[in-house]
């Protein structure tokens, strides 16, 4: 997993629920590409055409609330999102994202705006906003999550370690 991520910000508000990330009618599949085709479609119909691989999804409070569907972070990851930044996350989404190797950065206070050019260093949790010159510090992950993320996700971690 690359340690430094670069891309533009796509900014949304608070309480973005998993039905808005990927509606339930699309979730019954093992084809991640078909999830990516519908990611955020009700919330932001332009997202798919506007975003470039490596871009960030940036949100306010409680990103990913609602369902336990891992299809939500998977849809974002497959669409090319490099990481999600939020003030804080709903707990199942947070776990799911780490488990599939999608970095999630919890920054309790930020004023990142639509289109800002961001750089995130996963090694120290610093996020640089090259548009405004501001630097943010993400909250550190618990040790166990860090190990899972460094392995590229829980599948890789358990293939290597066999148990926790």
């Amino acid at each position: 997993m690359s340690k430094v991520l670069r891309g533009h910000a796509h900014v949304y508000g608070d309480n973005i629920d998993t039905d808005r990330i990927i509606p339930g009618k699309y979730t019954k599949t093992l084809d991640a590409q078909s999830l990516a085709e519908h990611v955020l479609e009700d919330l932001d119909p332009e997202f798919r055409s506007r975003m470039r691989p490596g871009d960030f999804v940036v949100a306010g409070n409680n990103f990913g609330c609602g369902s336990s569907r891992e299809q939500a972070p998977l849809a974002l990851q497959t669409a090319g999102v490099s990481a999600v930044i939020a003030r804080y996350f709903a707990r199942i989404f947070f776990r799911n994202a780490i488990n599939i190797g999608l970095p999630v950065l919890e920054i309790p206070e930020h004023d990142i705006a639509q289109g800002d050019e961001l750089e995130a260093d996963l090694a120290d949790g610093k996020v640089y906003n090259h548009t405004t010159g501001k630097v943010y510090q993400a909250k550190p992950l618990p040790e166990v999550m860090l190990r899972i993320l460094q392995a590229g996700g829980l599948v890789n971690y358990l293939r290597e370690h066999k148990t926790f």
């Binding site: 369902s67 336990s68 358990l158 293939r159």
Partner: protein, 412 residues
């Protein structure tokens, strides 16, 4: 040493560690469950992890409930994938029509008081009605439990909600939990365990307790417990009570004696108001069912309101019993007959239209009054429809009137 909350007590029993909020533990689980939304991904992840045999097949269950019977060939093939894996591994698979995972797990005794249980479905905290520490996980987390029998958890802080007084006859457990969800908010209990206590819970049926614990998911909670005082189960169990000197992150005291029926307005389950604000809002479609309110007492209260009446033209009602057992009981006591005679459409026991996969997607511009637990935009499959959440009594009364209205006075 300070006392323990319910969740701390269960983690102590499982790991031998006295944990505090924030402590990370690796704990052995007592059981796991996945549905047709999450099991296929879990199977795939399990195989990629190098898994050959699940850790304890007799403690694992798969339930086909979210899109059952299969509405298209893609989902039919996912169901087949689940069936084949379950057969190879010796895992019990609950077929289409057997019911919603959270009802089946309780009826079949897969979850019991004191268990640490993981379910690949966000409404897994429902089992807190039984005093189980049950939390929802995604597919890959579940695959890890299938492989190792363990899960890593951050010990949650506990939010205590103390209710004073008894509910009025026209207010149900659903009205109470809607009200409390509005009060705590959609993220008010994020990462937390919620404990409910108070005299109103002591006389509550198991079905009502399940309805209460169910919506802790809508507060962002990791798990939730209804105090076991008064809990009746068809087998012997040791109730797990929090210690009197347990530490809580917060205690919310609520007087519920005058609580009127509640509705959650679009587009969030915490957008809750007393029903008065929306009385008269036209409805096109009512839904009674789900892991929140698809149990026998829910169907019975609707039948009492609808018996001998007819739904008005232009209004439909879909009823999905929570399990085959609920359906059989409703057939035996005349509940199902009364509902169907009044014009309700009785569908397969399972999740029904709640997740927008099948069996009753609303049209553009329609208003749904639903006894489910989520009303996010697009939840039922159409982002151009709006969903109000309410008790089964309010749903039945509202479809009969053609607009949102108070349920008739009486025993709800």
């Amino acid at each position: 040493m300070r006392g323990m909350t319910t969740v701390e007590k269960i983690l102590f029993q499982k790991t031998g560690q006295r944990v505090r909020p924030g402590d990370i533990v690796i704990a052995p689980v007592d059981g796991l469950m996945a549905t047709d939304t999450t099991a296929p991904g879990a199977i795939r992840a399990f195989e990629k992890m190098g898994g050959r045999h699940v850790w304890a097949p007799e403690r694992c269950a798969f339930v086909i409930d979210h899109a059952a019977p299969a509405p298209n060939e893609r989902i039919a093939n996912l169901h087949r994938f689940m069936r084949e894996f379950a057969r190879q591994q010796g895992i019990r698979l609950f077929e289409i029509g057997e019911g919603i995972c959270h009802q089946v797990m309780v009826e079949q005794g897969y979850v019991r008081p004191g268990y640490l249980f993981t379910g690949a479905d966000s409404h897994t905290p429902t089992y807190g009605a039984l005093n189980a520490f049950a939390c929802g996980v995604g597919s890959t987390d579940l695959a890890a439990v299938m492989l190792t029998g363990k899960i890593w958890l951050k010990t949650p802080a506990t939010l205590r909600i103390r209710c004073h007084g008894q509910l009025r006859p026209e207010a149900s457990a659903k009205d109470l939990i809607l009200y409390l969800t509005g009060k705590v908010g959609i993220s008010g209990a994020t990462y937390m365990s919620v404990e409910f206590e108070g005299e109103a819970f002591e006389t509550m049926s198991l079905a009502s307790r399940l309805c209460v614990a169910n919506m802790t998911a809508e507060m962002g909670a990791k798990t939730g417990f209804v105090h076991p005082r008064g809990l009746k189960l068809p087998y012997f169990f040791e109730p797990i009570e929090p210690d009197p000197d347990a530490e809580y992150v917060q205690t919310i005291e609520v007087d519920i004696g005058e609580l009127p029926p509640q509705v959650a307005a679009p587009e969030s389950p915490d957008n809750v108001y007393p029903i008065d604000r929306y009385i008269g809002t036209p409805v096109h479609y009512g839904f009674i069912g789900t892991c929140g309110n698809g149990r026998l007492e829910d169907l019975q209260v609707a039948a009492r309101i609808l018996r001998g009446k007819r739904l008005p033209k232009g209004v439909r009602l879909v009823v999905a019993p929570a399990s085959r057992s609920v359906l059989l009981d409703a057939m035996l006591d005349g509940t199902a007959h009364a509902l169907v005679e009044a014009g309700a459409t009785l569908i397969t026991p399972g999740c029904g239209p709640c997740v927008g996969s099948h069996e009753g997607v609303p049209a553009d511009g329609e208003t749904v009054i639903s006894a489910a637990n989520r009303n996010f935009r697009g939840r039922m499959g159409n982002p151009r429809a709006q969903i109000f959440l309410a008790s089964p009594a309010t749903v039945a009364a509202s479809v009969l009137a053609g607009h949102i209205t108070l349920p008739p006075p009486g025993d709800q």
